[in-house]
Amino acid sequence: MKKAIFTTTLLFAIIGIAFAQNGVKKKRPLPFDFGRVVINNYSEASHIAPVVFDHWLHRAKFTCRLCHVDIGFAMKAGATDIKARDNINGYYCGTCHDGTRRVFADTLMFSSCKEEFAQKDETCDRCHSSGKNVKKKYDFREFVKGWPRERFGNGVNWEKAEERELIIPYDYIEGVSIKREKLIAQQDFKIAPKVEGMPDIIFSHEKHTLWNGCELCHPEIFTGIKKGLTKYSMLDIYEGKYCGVCHINVAFPLLDCQRCHTEKVQ
């Protein structure tokens, strides 16, 4: 009898540990994994590893708008439908990764998807690295050393990093971006939460348009032409809609409640 009870308890403990490890609770990504996107539209079908894209490395140098508006990357992984030919033609990754541009302390950008590359070329591995043990050129911890800290996401407060000029994101690429007039930011506004007792959300148009411009959010993400017209809940946001388009995968995550719910309870 004692043996049966012991066996049953052991079995439940093992099942419990197994579930805790794998599926019941969603695992929080590590700081260097936060914002990582795997692109596999055609890679595996072409017998090459899928692309691993790190947002932290790119957002340190470029605004969201530059890539998602000017270059035209979609806001959802895989939705851009990038082909090697597009990069070879000088679009998408090939816009900057053309072997001639210089960024990051005047470092020459490597070329993406050149026709002369053999598939086992180590340059391919710099992007096509999913499932491979590729030593990255930039080490996350070294890269963000001394930058203002944040509790969640990448563990970096990007806003403060820009304020302190630790990052100065490019917002214009000659021949790619349009020369735009100075942006006139719309007014900030309050959004009343549905849960009683939660502080109001203060939405800053200025903070958002600084990196995103207007057309990144309107009307694709926020369709309502009037404040309050687009109805959404935290559940929608957690499903990756509305604020969740960015604030799940790249911008500070939803766990950081008081970054949005900033107003004191009246």
């Binding site: 020369k179 007039e181 006139i184 057309e215």
Partner: protein, 108 residues
């Protein structure tokens, strides 16, 4: 002398019409390839200030975007597939923003 001048003038006119037209024609065709890109740069340059444009201006920009989209859709050549994909998305983004701003203004 008079005949010679007339001959010279006619020759020059012929040369101008023939070669000049060829040269102008060539430039035009080279530029024609990029005309739509210039139009794109011009039509999408106002997205920053879409909210301060008048409804008439917005309608005009939307109309230009539609014409541009039709042009992009007809692109041919080696890079056409990529250009269509990239620029269709980019033009649609600014067209939809102008439409958004127009609807905002009309419902205000």
């Amino acid at each position: 002398m008079k005949n010679f001048s007339r001959f010279t003038l006619l020759s020059l006119l012929f040369l101008y019409l023939f070669f000049g037209n060829c040269i102008v024609g060539n430039f035009s065709s080279v530029y024609a390839q990029d005309d739509w890109k210039q139009e794109y740069s011009s039509v999408c340059a106002k997205t920053q200030n879409a909210m301060i444009l008048t409804p008439e201006e917005l309608k005009s920009y939307i109309d230009r975007c539609d014409k541009l989209l039709a042009l992009i859709n007809e692109l041919e050549g080696e890079q056409a597939a990529t250009e269509k994909k990239v620029y269709t998305k980019r033009v649609k983004m600014c067209r939809e923003l102008y439409q958004f701003a127009l609807e905002y203004k009309e419902h205000k």
